[in-house]
Symmetry: C2
Subunit: 195 residues, 2 copies
């Protein structure tokens, strides 16, 4: 069964193509989640508002909107930071072992970690999506006023981070699909070999 | 290659065990997401508050908290409803075809749909988690007051729906893992057969 050793012939080529596709997708996912983390972590806007006038002297207050003010944003930074580390670790792992990664327990653990990462990052991105919607439009039922009219750049930066995070989820999903497709293809390939 | 036909011998038994495991997990996921959908869709609380007293006559207002008041809750109901339909469809599909489901494009499509469902439901559950946190504690930075002190049952019911949804995600993840494990196991099994 020369098939098992890999590295030569049609199967060898295909596995390299798969490995390179995986690495490219992982790097893209890494960049997207890293961007989301940094953009959100640097999100801070300070504005000065005139609240009243005594004589000719305007009374001003200075307010700062920071990402830490909303728990959902903190979770977003942590989730995307962990997703970035996850991509980095998986990339490092693909250099450590040059044998076929679809064997053994490792494939299952990697797939599970990918899936949990997708779920957590998707949760974080959707949470800030709805927090952003609330900040933009307010909620009259709960008497929560909109704040984005005063902190426009802050809100836009949050939206940018959200977008980067969703792009990261897309790449993480592609990683998972390519992984599973390769396992299936290998399965079918064995059928051909052994037929 | 009698292996391909399945249904007899060790492999046949294993495939049935896998099919039954999958069905049980899908039914559990279905119940969890259906519970989340119904509990949230029925979430409504009406309370009467005394706001002032004129002479001996108290002035009362009646306020109603409905799930539709918060966009995140609406998305939650839709996401969990779609996940329930997804589980139902996948269960129906597993009755339609008695051949091994790990073959062909179908496996990839089902895995992808499972993954997208996990991401969407996880997003919805996390969004209402943070909305619930906001309703319970308020956010002094944004001057959003807590509302759960006035609508305690409403908030508790929302938390219950969230919990059911997270349990549903857990089962959907197990479905995905069992699916991939079975594909891998079949792969290894073929190695044994053809060695």
């Amino acid at each position: 069964m020369g098939v098992e050793e890999g590295g030569v012939g049609k199967k060898g080529v295909c596995i390299w193509r798969w490995k390179i596709t995986m690495m490219v997708l992982r790097v893209l996912a890494l960049f997207a989640t890293a961007t989301a983390t940094v953009v959100m972590a640097l999100n801070k806007e300070t504005n000065t508002f005139a609240v009243a006038t005594i004589g000719n002297t305007p009374i001003k207050i200075t307010l700062t909107a920071k990402f830490q003010d909303t728990p959902a944003n903190v979770m977003f930074v942590i989730a995307n930071g962990v997703a970035t580390l996850h991509s980095l670790l998986m990339l490092a792992l693909s250099f450590v072992n040059h044998k076929h990664d679809l064997k053994g327990l490792r494939f299952l653990i990697v797939t599970m970690l990918d899936m949990v990462t997708i779920a957590v990052v998707s949760g974080a991105a959707t949470a800030i999506a709805f927090m952003g919607e609330l900040a933009r439009n307010g909620n009259s039922h709960a008497r929560w006023n909109k704040i984005c009219d005063n902190f426009e750049r802050y809100c836009d930066q949050g939206s940018g981070a959200m977008l980067a995070s969703y792009i990261g989820i897309l790449f993480l999903m592609l990683v998972n699909m390519v992984n599973i497709y390769e396992l299936k293809r290998l399965n079918n390939f064995k059928n051909v070999i052994t037929a």
